[in-house]
């Protein structure tokens, strides 16, 4: 049953992604002007002057003189062959630009997810079981503070402290010697050394809300009759809580996995820019700002696909986790 369901979902993804590609292409095109107008504007900002003939040449080369549907079909036809087209702004093939950024984004999302779960689950459980204790109040206060502080502000403060008091290099995900190096054990370790800062910054907000969700859900479950039954049968208190109420309370955690990635890309852009993180967010924002259609389009499509896949994964996990969920 489940396999048929998965297959159906996968098939549905095709028309869905097609629709997403059309809509995103239209949206990117919606602001007035095109890539070249923003490009000229950007140059004019520092009083730089571009030759008119160079602009004409670019417009022709990028096909910006053609109607929008022609541009779209050119793009989608190349895409079916695995060619993402040329980034206007970087004048580099889009495929060269996106993969490493996407990989780093995934690593960062995953690390942030693990971090916030690792902190919020135990604290959430503790706050629920020891409701209105000192520990509960402390955890809740810290959690609310984390939730209330904008991520980018926290990032700026941490960076400022780092620069002014420790003279350390801040920003980025790698040390200088590893920035453009090929992947190696050393580079991986270097990444881990830098990863904690963005993970902490990005994780604080999520952690706080997850603590509250866990606490509320668990409180609902703790008074259920099945808990009393289990307790009456003499089950140890720790296993009792872990095995049943916590498992049920995990439902919202699992069902939001699919959102983690798009959230991190769209919600964390400002933080990523402040911290100079080489993730997808800043590049996509820049591509959208400068109407770099093929680059922005590629990101939107990839993120949509990942979201769809992520939602599928959370649905599958839900079935495994919660016996009440059924798919037919």
């Amino acid at each position: 049953m489940l396999w048929r369901y998965i297959l159906k979902r996968l098939l549905w993804m095709i028309p869905f992604l097609f629709a997403v590609s059309v809509v995103s292409f239209l949206l990117i095109q919606a602001p007035p002007g095109d890539y070249l107008t923003t490009y000229i504007a950007k140059l004019a900002e520092s009083n730089e002057i571009l030759d008119q003939s160079a602009i004409d040449n670019l417009r022709e080369r990028f096909g910006l003189d053609q109607p929008i549907y022609v541009q779209y079909f050119k793009w989608i036809a190349n895409l079916l062959h695995g060619d993402f087209g040329m980034s206007f702004e970087w004048r580099q093939p889009v495929s060269e630009l996106i993969w490493e950024r996407m990989a780093l984004t995934l690593i960062l999302s995953f690390a942030t997810l693990l971090f916030s779960w690792a902190i919020s689950l135990p604290i959430g459980i503790y706050s629920a079981v020891r409701k209105y204790s000192i520990g509960d109040y402390v955890a809740s206060t810290l959690g609310f503070l984390g939730l209330a502080t904008p991520n980018f502000l926290l990032a700026l403060v941490l960076m400022y402290i780092g620069v002014v008091y420790f003279g350390s290099d801040v920003g980025g995900l790698f040390s200088n010697e590893y920035v453009n190096a090929p992947w190696s054990w050393g580079r991986f370790i270097d990444l881990l050394k830098h990863l904690w800062l963005p993970v902490v910054v990005l994780g604080t907000g999520a952690t706080a809300s997850l603590i509250r969700i866990m606490r509320a859900n668990l409180l609902d479950e703790l008074n259920r009759p099945y808990v009393d039954t289990a307790r009456a049968k003499g089950m140890s208190e720790f296993w009792l809580i872990m095995k049943y109420p916590v498992r049920v309370a995990l439902n919202p955690f699992v069902s939001t996995i699919g959102w983690v990635l798009p959230n991190l890309v769209s919600g964390a852009v400002v933080t990523a820019i402040v911290l100079s993180l080489p993730t997808a967010g800043p590049l996509m924002l820049q591509a959208l700002l400068s109407q770099d259609m093929y680059l922005a389009g590629a990101f939107v499509l990839l993120l949509s696909s990942l979201t769809v896949v992520g939602m599928l994964i959370s649905d599958i996990l839900l079935v495994l986790l919660d016996p009440r969920v059924k798919y037919d």
Binding site: P31, P32, G33, T37, T38, Y39, I40, A41, A44, E45, S46, N47, E48, I49, L50, D51, Q52, S53, A54, D56, N57, E60, R61, D83, F84, G85, M86, S87, E89, W90, R91, Q92, P93, V94, S95, E96, L97, E100, R101, M159, Y160, V163, V164, G167, D169, V170, G171, G172, L173, N176, V179, N180, I273, V274, L275, S276, P278, Q286, S290, Q291
Partner: protein, 643 residues
């Protein structure tokens, strides 16, 4: 043997120094950076005298002879900040600006001659000069650009205007391996200066031995390469991706591309993914100092990439930036940096602006509404609007008291300075303004006290400005709004996103536009406010620009005065004699002064850059301009670190 020679070289140098002043540098005299000496010893590089041209370009450093080593650290703002690299590594063209911007001097070309009517220019290249990969640089490389690219319509459907005169593309003739003659269809008096501007290195930009592999004429397999490369549809795109083009980040993205720059890209090149760009010394760089040391002095230039200007400022505060103006030189940043100066170990240099004013009101002389158009073309109305502005008040409040009331025009230190153009009607005189407006047919007022136009509508200016980039304009416009209210003129200003600003502008859909005025020191190269020449900048009359640029096919015919100026400008471009050029240009400025088409608030003021205290040979004052791509003409290859 080799070792002894190395040890002997320095003492020998000292005694030879005096003789060097008198005789041309002979081959044995050249000194190598330690970093390259090692490679020579290891047999990876030929000795320095074989890497330099027969007669290298000899540079006298600004203050003192430098020592080798160290890294020059700079920052790039996020994406598309490629011109920041250009500004330090330098536009290595045939000619270059003198450091004080007083004229040009030889650069890649050793010398040149022009014929009397400035239609033919003969350049002599440096014998034995080499690309960064060690291959010889000769006239063939120049001819490759002219014959295979410039005159190839597939590559340039429309040619860069630097190489077009009378709608005909430049031609060239190879005299011998080191001599090329450029030929134009008509006189081209500014050509030699233009070659020193940032986007005019095409003749010496592409190494034929490397780039020809992307041209079908030389390589029949290009089609296959095009198919194999994603994102590329034809050979010109492939060529530009691999071999670079002047105005694109891809220029700095391929470390394999040979160049003539003092530093060359390493595998940490400038691509979209990178957060740090590293350039290392070009072992074949063709300049030496006056003691025979091959330049550059510093081993590396590194550029961190920070998409956020605040993060970039933070790096400067921390003293992680050795020399930079771009992206940090705002008035608001100066106190922050001044406070951090001692701890960060840096000081300021003065960046003298080439612009004329900080904020110019470009009234739309080609307004779509005929009533408004008639009013704005009335010089007395324009005078009244200018007299209705209290510039001192705006300067005090918005510009922290820096700057003086000013219209437009070349700065006082320029030989082109025109007192009338820059100072007329800058006084605040609301009575006179009211009088002039009454006389211009705006003598009726509505209930709110605003003047009514002859057709009964209120005399109103609705204005868009780019507030994110230039918040000061918004502040100034707010004050102007109150001041104009006193003379019965309504002003509504709205901040808009810049592409909206540009599309309104190109659609000729505005009452006036606000932008700063260039042309303070670079009037010859950026005269957009003196007559309609710039399609995204001469906001006083965009349709007139189109008329001029399309030879009368599009747009709208300018008025007699502007047509006269455009005619004079053509004459100016054709004049070979600098004295004649100056004379014609002064005439143009005088007409612009008499017409009084636009007005400004305040003169442009100096900004600043930061310099590491240990970095030597950096001038205290550097012009900052696009046409003078600071700091490159001050020759950063001569900057060095004091131990």
């Amino acid at each position: 043997m080799n070792n002894i020679w190395c040890r002997m070289r320095r003492p020998l140098m000292a005694s030879a120094a005096v003789a060097l002043m008198l005789t041309p540098l002979s081959a044995w005299a050249y000194q190598d950076a330690p970093m390259l000496e090692e490679q020579v010893k290891a047999g990876k590089l030929p000795p320095v005298d074989q890497r330099l041209p027969e007669k290298p370009d000899v540079i006298t450093p600004l203050n003192e002879t430098g020592t080798y080593g160290g890294t020059l650290r700079r920052m790039l703002g996020g994406s598309n900040d490629h011109n920041s690299i250009l500004r330090i590594v330098g536009p290595q063209g045939l000619t270059r600006w003198k450091a004080d911007w007083s004229g040009i001097e030889p650069n890649v070309a050793e010398s040149w001659e022009a014929n009397a009517d400035a239609t033919e220019f003969t350049f002599h290249l440096r014998k034995g000069m080499k690309w960064s990969d060690g291959e010889p640089f000769t006239a063939d490389d120049v001819m490759f650009f002219v014959d295979d690219l410039l005159n190839n319509e597939e590559f340039y459907p429309s040619a860069p205007s630097n190489y077009v005169v009378d709608n005909k593309r430049m031609q060239a003739e190879k005299i011998d391996d080191y001599t090329v003659k450029f030929k134009f269809a008509g006189p081209y008096g500014l050509f030699l200066q233009l070659l020193a501007t940032p986007l005019a290195q095409e003749p010496v930009f592409w190494a034929k031995h490397y780039c020809k592999q992307f041209v079908p004429k030389y390589n029949p397999d290009v089609d296959k390469m095009v198919k194999e490369t994603p994102g590329v549809e034809d050979w010109p795109s492939l060529f530009k991706l691999k071999c670079g083009e002047l105005e694109s980040p891809a220029r700095w993205g391929n470390p394999a591309r040979p160049t003539l720059d003092p530093w060359i890209m390493t595998d940490q090149a400038y691509t979209a993914g990178t957060t740090r760009v590293v350039m290392t010394r070009n072992p074949y760089f063709w300049q030496v100092d006056d003691k025979g040391n091959q330049l550059p002095y510093t081993d590396e230039v590194t550029m961190g990439v920070a998409p956020d200007n605040q993060a970039l400022l933070l790096e400067a505060v921390a003293g992680h930036v050795d020399m930079q103006r771009r992206k940090i030189d705002t008035l608001a940043n100066k106190p922050v940096l001044a406070q951090a100066m001692e701890k960060g170990g840096f000081h300021f240099y003065e960046a003298t602006p080439s612009s004329s004013s900080t904020m110019t009101i470009h009234l739309n002389l080609t307004h779509k509404d005929p009533v408004m158009r008639k009013l704005l073309n009335d010089k007395n109305v324009r005078i009244a609007l200018s007299l209705g502005i209290d510039r001192e008040e705006i300067i005090d409040i918005v510009y922290q008291g820096v700057g003086q009331p000013w219209q437009i025009g070349p700065l006082e230190q320029s030989p082109l300075y025109n007192e009338q153009l820059s100072h007329q009607f800058t006084e605040y005189d609301p009575d006179k303004a009211n009088e002039l407006l009454d006389a211009a047919g705006l003598d009726k007022k509505d209930a709110q006290g605003y003047r009514l136009r002859p057709d009964g509508k209120r005399f109103t200016f609705n204005v868009n400005y780019t507030g994110i980039e230039q918040p000061d304009w918004g502040d100034a416009l707010e004050i102007m709004k109150e001041q104009w209210q006193k003379i019965g003129v309504e002003l509504n200003a709205t901040s808009v996103e810049r592409s909206i600003y540009y599309s309104r502008g190109e659609a000729n859909d505005y009452d006036f536009m606000v932008w700063q005025s260039p042309g303070g020191l670079d009037a010859y190269f950026d005269p957009r406010d003196y007559f309609p020449i710039h399609p995204q900048g001469s906001w006083q009359a965009i349709p007139w620009v189109r008329w001029y640029l399309t030879g009368g096919k599009e747009g709208e015919e300018p008025d007699a005065s502007n047509k006269e100026r455009l005619k004079l400008y053509d004459e100016f471009k054709g004049a070979a004699d600098p004295a004649k050029q100056e004379e014609i240009f002064k005439k143009i400025l005088q007409i612009a002064a008499d017409q009084f088409e636009m007005f400004s608030i305040s003169s442009a003021t100096s900004t600043f850059g930061v310099v590491n205290n240990k970095l030597m040979n950096v001038p205290d004052k550097i012009p900052s301009s696009w046409m003078y791509p600071d700091p490159a003409p001050t020759l950063p290859q001569t900057y060095f670190y004091k131990k």
